[in-house]
Structure formats: C-alpha cells, structure tokens
Amino acid sequence: MVPRSRKPEELLPTGAPLTLVDADGRAVPSAGLAMPGDEALLALHRKMVLARRFDTQATALTRQGRLAVYPSARGQEAGEVGAVLALRPQDWLFPTYRDTMAVVCRGADPVEVLSLLRGDWHCGYDPYEYRVAPQCTPLATNTLHAVGVAHAAKLKGEDAVALVMLGDGATSEGDTHAALNFAAVWQAPVVFFVQNNGYAISVPLSKQTAAPSLAHKGVGYGVPGMLVDGNDAAAVYAAVRRAVASGAEGGGPTLIEALTYRIEAHTNADDATRYRDQAEVEGWLARDPLARIRKHLIARGLLDEPAVAALEAEAEAEAAALRQRINTGIAHDPADLFRHVYAEQTPDLRWQQQELSAELAAAADDPEVAR
C-alpha cells in the first residue's frame, strides 16, 4: 500500500475558493468543478429550505426546554446539504454534533435524530440504515473511524466512500493528523469535509492555525486539498462528487475545506457577543447560501415564486410535525441502561437491573411518594 507519489502542485488547493454560483447567484466558470445538473440544483435548494426550517425549529425547541441543547448549523446549509446529496447510498457519513441537518438530509427520521439532543438516547437511529455514524461530542475522533470503515470496504472489495465532517477546530486535534496520515498511507477512500465556519466555540481561525488554509494541510500527508466556497451549494456538491469519485476509483483520500460561517452561537448556552461583532454576522448573512442558490434558480427559470411558496409551506408543515412529535414525550425504559453494555448481559449487570426494578416497583406501590 505504497502511496502514489504526487507532485506538491497536484496536492495544493487553489488560492481562491472554488465557486460555481457566486454570492449574487451568477454562474461562474470553474476550472476545477463541473456545474451540477438542474435536477441536482433544485434538489439542493429544496433540501436547504427544509434544513433551515428544521434548524430554526430545533433552536426554538431548545429555548423552550424541549431539547437539552442544539448546536445550530444555520448559515452552513450549503455544506450540510451539498455534501450529503453528493453521496451515494452505499457511502458512509460521519457527522459531528453540529451536523444534525446533514443527518436528516441523508434520510434519517428527524425525531430519531434528535433523540440525542432531546436526551432520550445517545443515538436514536440505526447507523446501518442510512450508513450514518452516531453523532457525538468529542471532536475529530470520527475521522479515524471513517478511515477504518473506508479501509474495510476496500479490503472487502466494496465500493463505498466515507465522508467525515469536521470543523476548523477539529483539525487541530491529534486524531485528525493520524487519520489523514493513515488514510493517505492506506489510500483509503475518505473525503475529509472540513466546514470552516470561522470559530471553534469562541476561538477564531486565527488562533487555531497558522496554515495558509486548512486545505493546505493535506499536502503534508500526500492528500490533495480543495478549497471551496462553503456557501455555494453547487460548488460543494460538485467538489464532494469529485472527491467521492476519486476515492471510488482508487484515488485515495481528499481533503476539502468549505469556507462558511456559523450564524448562531455555538449552542443555546453560548453568548457569541463575547467574542464576535454583530457586524461580522451581518456580513455573512448577506452571503446567505440559500438566497444565493434561489436567486440563481429563479434567474434561470427553474424556480418561481409559487414553487418557493409551496416549498416553504412544506417546510412549515414539517416544522409543525416536528414540534408536535418532540412535544409528545416518549416512554423511557430504565432497563435500557443495562441491555446494551455488552453483547450478552453479565450476571452483575442483570443483578443491578433487578435492583433498580425492585426499587422502582417499591416506589410505584408507595402511595406516599411525592410526585
């Protein structure tokens, strides 16, 4: 598994981010990327509308105490949706805790996905159903898992690429270094999709790295890096498609850096005014990914106002359904605590489960329990 030696210029990203649709919705020619077809563009737009409405609804639910926490990806819809739509059904998605939009876009049921954040269980969906790894808080740990899954697929002769999402902050973790290196040495079909949204909670990019860009980090490992406008869904989609195809054809890993911005604070518990200006946020609102693709589609006659209205109504209906389902609590079974620790429950755990059952039965029988 000797890595193909490539010249540095083949590995370095472009100086300017790759774009296909600019901030004003105009098509821009790109040497590196192919403009997606109309159907793909319409799908991107639709999914972004739904994703945004989902996100704002989740944020509201959190402030109402219906979700324990919600790390919003508002403003990052192009990356969340663009990367996922570029995957094939047999590919794997490795999301971070912020990529709930992406997981829902991939097809998982939104309430099952929110299981983690509502506090019902650590992962509410079956990873094998849509080939989505569980979301979790530690950063960059998923990069190594993605490499492993991809490498195993290769060993099995399976055509599957793993796309791992990480943020600018996560690229500083040691696991990212190991993952890029392993992926390169093994030529594993992995797409490292870095959404650089400017902040790791409060720490800005300037304190996170001295690299010319995060995409430049690839060359050190022999991994080609691509710098992409992360608010341009068409460019994101095209870039990921290209990276997936490369991986599928034996071209090994690719590192994509998508430049975007986290419009909301880190989570509902964060106070972003402590570390950034509203002016900065306003600047990025003006480069809204959804507005941009919509403008483009309308200009090309692929979308009209009624169609947009219908989409927004669809999104609204989904939000209402989400509210209703989230607000309807589900029963939690304490026995679940002991069921899945091992493949086969140990005698000690069985005993502990019985102790808890007895305790709960006693409480249930007790007329004096103050509820």
């Binding site: 402030r63 105490g65 219906r66 509502r118 518990a269 106070d271 509210r323 609590g329």
Partner: protein, 403 residues
C-alpha cells in the same frame, strides 16, 4: 391553561433574570414567538413560547430572578399543554416512603466449619469473653451469630458461680514456656492501657515532697477513735480536688477536636486487687467533705477487693489518684486512665535527709508524680497543679485559706 416554565437554558443552569418582556397580558401569541429576554449566568437568551393563544399572566417583572422550573407566563390555549421536559440540576427526586426498616441481612452460610459472625467487632467481643463460637447458636439468617447471641452467651456464663478469672488453660510447658491467654477483664484492662499509651501524648512531672506535716495532721485527725479514719489517700484526694478547681483542664477529656471539661470531679482511686488493677470511682467527689471522701474511698476499695463493685462504679471517672507507695516504690510514669487527662500518683513515704532551715535533718519524704495529657495543658499548668498539691502536703494548714 398551561404555564410555560422556565427551562434550563444551558447545561445545568439554575435560574435566569427577566430582562425584557416582548408581550403583555392579553396579547395573542403564536407558537415559537419570542416573548421574553432573560439573562442566565452564561448568556442573554430570547425565549420563544411553545404554545399559541392569549397571554393570561406574566410571572415576573424585569429584574426578577426566576428559578428553572418556575412559571414564566401562562397562556390560554386549546392545546393540552405538553409536558415540559426539564433538564438541569433539578434535585426534585421524590422521597420514597420507607415503611419497613428491614435488618438487611447478609444471609451468609457457614464456611469450612467457621461460624459466620455478624461483624468483626462481635467476633472480638466473643473472643474477649472467651467464648467458643462453635458452641453458640446463631439466630440470624443462615445461622449468623448476632450480637444478641453473644451477649446472651456472656450473660449465661456470668450466671455461673466461678467468678474468679479462670487460670490459664493447662498447657504442658514445652521447654518451660508458659502461655497465658489475655482474656476477660485482663483483656479489657490491657486494651485500655494500650489505647491510653497509643492515643495520649503524655508527659510527666514529679516532685519530692516533705510529707512530715501531713503525717502529723493525719495523726491528729485520727486521734479521735470514734471518727472515721482519714487515710493518706483521702487527704491526697482532697488536695487534688482543690487543685482541680484551680486547674480544671486536668479534669477533662478529649473528644474529637475538643477538650471537654465538666463541672464535677468523679475521682478514680486505684486499687490493687486479686483480679488485678481496679479503679473505683467516687462520683461528685468535689461535694464530699474530707471525712465523706475517706469513707467513700475506703468503702470502694473494700468492695473492689471483694469483687462487689458494679460497672457503673468502675467507669465515668474524670481524674485518677494512685498510691503505688504500697508497692514500696517512689515514682511511676503512670499510664493515664483513658479517656481521662491526667493521673496523680504518690510513692512510699520514708525518712530521707532534707534541708530545713539550713540544717540537714531526717524528714518523711515522698514523691508525687503527675502524668498528664499534654494536649489539654502546657507544662506550666501541670507544674502549677502539682506544686499546689505539693504545697498542700507540705503545709496542710494553708489549705484552710482555700476553703
């Protein structure tokens, strides 16, 4: 009419302060409409209402601090008001009614012929009493030998006539080596002595005292043969009580991090008996006259030798006096009677050369020794205490000044 309760807005927050209301009573609100701005320890948050309807009450003014779980506002709505999921540090765990306090047995089956005993403490209790556990029937589950079982066995044994501590079991001396088990009262005493030395940082002061005047006084007091005999020990006790009133720290015990001084002097008077060392206690000795003290001490000592003292008369002392002069020795670094703070001892009284008015003359000399717990007082106090008693012994008439 559901109330919207303040949620935990950030991983364990407990409260929030209302900053601004965006609505007033009577307003109609839509689902997710922002209705109030609150400030938590972490951030200022705009909170959207989860129900639609008419606002019927606002539960607080700007500046008020609301606890998580308390109502923010009430909305008149057709919705059934879904349960608000609470997070955070709510410790609202309902207490279960605790009807039966089961003894929570351990149900241990006997292993390898060793009877199971409820605790090491009880096993030791049995061992000290010289009980053979295999002869005790355990009343606990699985034959567990409980404290009650051991106590019952001890009582049964005490009912037996043999009151003399059993002699050492006949062990044929192997090469002349004899083994005597330390059991029963001897064990109790041994433990107490060990504990005293282990726990108490004691120091000792002593002084040679001219007891000539005290002997003369005693002879004078005892000239009346109809009156109760005043013993040396009684005199010494009376002087001690007087000294304790001046230095109450020596009439103390240490409990945890505190020195506890009581108003009463429960005086222990050491007595050597066939059963070993015993220390009967004269309670409230400070309320006894010299004569009453002499009577009490004599009576206690007699009963100690007869073995008729009850446990209450052997415990609870606050200070001990010890006459080892009867053994024919002068001084002793005595072991403090734990948990007391000090012990005073007097040695033999014999004639020795002493200087009086510049002349070397024979006087009746004795040595007083005070062993004390250095935590309760310093050397100055201990020395002062001993000096006072020494002065009483040397010039007993002066004692009248303090009465």
């Amino acid at each position: 009419m559901p109330a919207f309760l303040l949620p935990d807005l950030g991983e364990g927050l407990t409260e929030a302060e209302i900053v601004t209301w965006h609505v007033q009573t009577g307003d109609t609100v839509a689902v997710d409409q922002p209705i109030v701005e609150v400030e938590t320890a972490k951030a200022v948050v705009e909170v959207p209402v989860p129900f639609a309807g008419r606002v019927t009450a606002l539960h607080g003014q700007p500046g008020d601090v609301v606890a998580v779980g308390e109502p923010l506002l009430t909305v008149d709505t057709a919705e059934t008001g879904s349960v608000l999921v609470g997070y955070g540090t709510s410790s609202g765990h309902h207490r279960r009614h605790r009807a039966t306090r089961s003894s929570g047995d351990t149900g241990i089956p006997p292993r390898n012929g060793r009877p199971p005993v409820a605790s090491p403490l009880i096993r030791q209790l049995a061992r000290n009493a010289g009980l053979d556990l295999t002869t005790i029937r355990g009343s606990g589950r699985g034959g567990l030998i409980t404290r009650q079982d051991v106590d019952a066995a001890i009582s049964a044994r005490q009912a037996e006539p043999a009151a003399v501590p059993e002699p050492a079991p006949a062990v044929p001396p192997a090469g002349g080596v004899i083994r005597i088990p330390i059991r029963g009262p001897r064990k109790s005493v041994a433990d107490k002595l060990s504990r005293s030395r282990r726990e108490i940082p004691e120091a000792t002061v002593w002084v040679d005292v001219d007891a000539t005047e005290m002997l003369r006084l005693r002879a004078a007091l005892n000239a009346d043969e109809s009156a109760p005999k005043i013993s040396l020990l009684a005199l010494l006790s009376r002087f001690t009580i007087l000294a304790l009133s001046r230095h109450p720290e020596l009439n103390a015990r240490i409990e945890g991090d505190e020195i506890v001084m009581g108003p009463s002097v429960h005086l222990g008077v050491a007595a050597q008996t066939d059963r070993g060392l015993m220390v009967p206690v004269v309670r409230d000795a400070q309320a006894h006259t010299l004569e009453q003290l002499a009577v009490a001490v004599a009576e206690r000592t007699r009963r100690a030798r007869d073995g008729t003292l009850g446990p209450a008369e052997l415990t609870g002392g606050t200070f001990t006096v010890n006459n080892y002069g009867v053994f024919g020795v002068d001084g002793s670094a005595a072991i403090i009677n734990h948990p007391e703070a000090a012990i005073l001892g007097i040695g033999r009284i014999i004639q020795r050369p002493w200087v009086v008015d510049g002349q070397v003359v024979p006087r009746h000399m004795t040595e007083l020794t005070l062993a004390f717990d250095h935590r309760v007082c310093d050397g100055g106090t201990a020395g002062g205490f001993l000096r006072f008693i020494a002065d009483c012994v040397e010039f007993p008439a002066n004692v009248l000044r303090h009465l």
